[in-house]
Amino acid sequence: MMYAYMTWLATYVALPLAVLWMIRPRLAWEHKFTLLACAGVSLLVNVPLDWFAIPRGIWTFPPGSLVGAYFLGIPLEEYMFMCLLAMLVSTIALMLRELVYHRQRRV
C-alpha cells in the first residue's frame, strides 16, 4: 500500500489525538508544556533506538510504505510516530488523572 505508514499514522494516532483535544481543548492547552515534554522525552529515547534497530534490520519498512523523507537516517514517519503517540498517551494520562483524582475543573 502506498504511504501505508502515513495513512496508518493519520488514522490510528493523529485522528484519535485530534478527537481527544477537541473533547477537552482546555486540558490540552493548559498542559501544552507537559505534552511537548512528553514528545521530547519520546524523541530522546526512540531516536537512538531507531539508530540501533533500523541498520540491524530489527524492523524494516516495506517498499512504498514511506513518503521518502529522511532526517538523520530515520524516516519522517518515525519522528511523527514518536511525537504523536507520546502526546496521545500523555493526553489519555491527563484525562484519567483528572477523572481519577478530581484534580481540575471539568470544561
Binding site: M1, A4, Y5, T7, W8, L9, T11, Y12, V13, E30, H31, F33, T34, A37, C38, V41, S42, V45, N46, P48, L49, F52, A53, R56, G57, I58, W59, T60, F61, P62, G64, S65, E77, A86, V89, S90, I92, A93, L94, L96, R97, V100, Y101, R103
Partner: protein, 131 residues
C-alpha cells in the same frame, strides 16, 4: 560476539531502551519531589490502556505494511496479531510517558498556583495599621 540467540534481539533491545527510560523518568520525578506512588492507580490504568491501544493499532499497521519485523529477530509469540515484545515495550514506554506527564503537569500546576497567589496578593488593598 553474540551473547543471545537472534530471536531475542528485538526483546533485548526494547528492554534495554525501555527500562533505562523508565528508570530515568522515576529519577526525574524524585528529583522534582513528585510522589509517583500516589498515582499507582493511574499508572496501572495506563499500563492496561497501553496493552489495549497496542492490540488495537498494531495489527492494522502490520497488515497494511507500514512496517515489518526482521525475520528471526522476534520470539514469534503473537497476541491478537501483536508481537509480545511490542506489548512489553508499549507498557514500559506508556509508564515512562505517564510519569513524565504527571511530573511536568504537577510542576506546571505549582507554577500556575504560585502565579495566581502572587497576583491575588498584588490586588489586595494595602493593610492599614491602627496608630
Amino acid at each position: 560476539m553474540k551473547m543471545l540467540p537472534a530471536q531475542y534481539t528485538y526483546l533485548s533491545t526494547l528492554l534495554a531502551f525501555g527500562l533505562v527510560a523508565l528508570a530515568a523518568s522515576l529519577l526525574v520525578a524524585r528529583a522534582a519531589r513528585v510522589h509517583i506512588m500516589r498515582y499507582a492507580r493511574l499508572l496501572l490504568l495506563m499500563a492496561a490502556a497501553s496493552v489495549l491501544l497496542t492490540l488495537a493499532i498494531e495489527p492494522p499497521a502490520l497488515e497494511s505494511g507500514a512496517w515489518a519485523y526482521g525475520t528471526n529477530m522476534t520470539l514469534g509469540v503473537r497476541l491478537l496479531g501483536s508481537e509480545m515484545e511490542t506489548l512489553v515495550y508499549s507498557v514500559l514506554m506508556t509508564l515512562t510517558a505517564s510519569i513524565v506527564t504527571i511530573t511536568v503537569a504537577e510542576i506546571e500546576e505549582k507554577h500556575r498556583s504560585r502565579r495566581a497567589r502572587i497576583a491575588a496578593n498584588r490586588n489586595q488593598p494595602a493593610r492599614t495599621t491602627k496608630m
